[in-house]
Subunit: 261 residues, 3 copies
């Protein structure tokens, strides 16, 4: 794994997550819930999955970060996302938005754009197709997998960062992290990660854990993606397929203490 | 594993899934979502889980197949299933229906029968009890597990195939696949597969991947069940219990290239 | 593992679950569904996950126990829980309530208290913070993890048991089980279990399986917690992290026949 931030910055970010154990409030999709909760526990954070409108403001008020993921959305859930997102923005709780499937249907693109306008996410993390779809309405994705190379989406990411005020992460073989001016990268991971479902969603939840404890969103997002990448390449080295990859990934996250970076 | 289709047919079907990587749109239950998505990725397909009414027609329009599974249904989801099913039928997108728990409650039986009438599924896959309940309203299941032997359900399957126009799959120690005239079989797998949740649901999702790329539903369904069976018996041989079985099953699917058949 | 019940009682309870294979109807959270279903299958029970209001009464009527878990609740689900809980109480089907996150939001605390009043659960299982929050409205939890030591909650558990008529389980490094008069304990398990999501929810589902076949709720709850503890410590001994822990836990449950106690 190679990244723009220093080893010291990465170690310090991982140490902060493990020491402060931030509560990360996820409104995420059904596929990813279990994986994301386990990944957050493995890195030392405290996950909560909650979407009931009546408790959104209260849950946000005790959270260190809010992660909104539109992977399996419907009308009720969109309302919950909006209530939570507005409350988090008002309180200064950092928000991570994962626009899963933006570009696949017009409803997803519109929902993601509306959430950006309404909630002012601190960080937006998606694959190349998703980020491009948020900038150029003519981009269509094939489902929730990326059909664009992540580097193709860097220009779109910069434009999205500038227009939204968010730090934007485009994940792929190389991850690009930008606030519109600076561009950080993470290289590493392993191709088998694309054969395990909800890896992107897990990345977004980890971004939530890091931005809860690290005030610079560029450093937080890069540290989270570097953590994914490190655990991913270590897990891939000992996996026999996509099933054992999912298991080994959690083991590697669990064992990734600052000194193991 | 022994099956009615030829090794060449099975290899060719697996190769087609891996080459074309069809988008399989699943409206499935909460228990199975993660397993089904991982199994589809492992065999080379591209899964999407989506149930928002507003995006059903658009999502179906980019899908190679639609899988409807009533495992954890409620009123809102039934509406989404109907909208998606009608849209898929109109567009000629093949539909797989998994009538989970038909016979356990009258609502499930009625929902499955209504979906058959409304959406004209290409393939219906269930266990013996479920298939029998769709033909004979007096059959009651115990929950979502099968209390009938699959061979008892063959007659019911033939009648259901003839009345619905669907290819019907009864899964069990021997899987039976029928269009009402022909009867194909798959023998193999392992008893431990019944101790892993959502294995049947996963089978239905794989049937979706195969019918997206193989135009003969009898061959598509049989190839999918043979793939389940092969991966299942290989995984069982190296598993220490139902937990490692789930992991090894995905590994074996992931490694099941045409030449490994 | 050390516990108040005898080895003979524990063996006999495990044997009863494996022989009778009770249908356990779960209305549980999205994170836990897959884990709980797999754990119930591993111990020999028959899980069903269902929350559709229209089928609640019918599903309860064929169930050996009902498990209500408020981990990812919303308005629709609360209604389903109430319908199912009232129907189960009327029919004498034992009910297990898991008040996930009571104390984290006022809505969760109120929902749990209302379900207790309405449905008269046979057993309530939670962590220390949750049980304390049900007795003392001033207790606030941090999310869904326990911030209280389980022994601090023993007094609260006794008061809750006396006021509700339920057997109350407080899980932690030592599990406490009380009907307000007697106090049973289970010592064992492993700290890594707190790094695997939905372990508490899984415990509640297992309690459901045991109370379906064992008429004394104190013995049923203790046997379930002892089973968790045994499988947990055996799995921890062979795990490399929280990912392999989840897998090994299911394997150990699957292999835990009465003679292996």
């Amino acid at each position: 794994m190679k990244t723009t931030i220093t080893t010291k910055q990465l170690r310090s970010a991982i140490a902060a997550v493990r020491e402060k154990s931030p509560l990360v409030h996820n409104i995420t999709n059904y596929v990813a819930m279990n994986n994301s909760a386990n990944a957050l526990l493995a890195i030392g954070a405290s996950p909560v999955m909650a979407h009931w409108k009546d408790e959104m403001e209260e849950m946000v008020s005790i959270a260190g970060a809010l992660v909104i993921n539109i992977g399996t959305l419907d009308g009720e859930w969109i309302e919950a996302m909006e209530i939570a997102g507005v409350a988090a923005h008002k309180r200064g709780v950092p928000i991570v938005l994962d626009p899963v499937g933006a570009g696949a249907t017009s409803g997803r693109t519109a929902t993601a754009l509306r959430l950006i306008e309404l909630c002012h996410p601190t960080i937006i993390r998606g694959n190349g197709s998703e980020i491009m779809a948020l900038v150029d309405a003519s981009v269509r994705s094939k489902g929730v997998d990326s059909s664009a190379q992540s580097h193709d989406a860097v220009d779109a990411a910069k434009r999205l960062a500038l227009s939204s005020g968010a730090t934007v992460v485009v994940s792929g073989p190389t991850d690009y992290i930008t606030n519109g001016k600076e561009l950080y990268t993470v290289e590493g991971g392993d191709a088998i990660m694309t054969s395990v479902t909800a890896m992107g969603c897990t990345a977004s939840s980890l971004v939530g854990a890091f931005v809860a404890v690290e005030s610079d969103p560029m450093v937080a997002a890069t540290a989270a993606m570097a953590t994914m990448s490190l655990a991913g390449e270590r897990a891939a080295a000992i996996s026999k397929g996509s099933g054992s990859m999912q298991v080994a990934f959690l083991d590697e996250l669990y064992n990734l203490t600052p000194d193991k970076v």
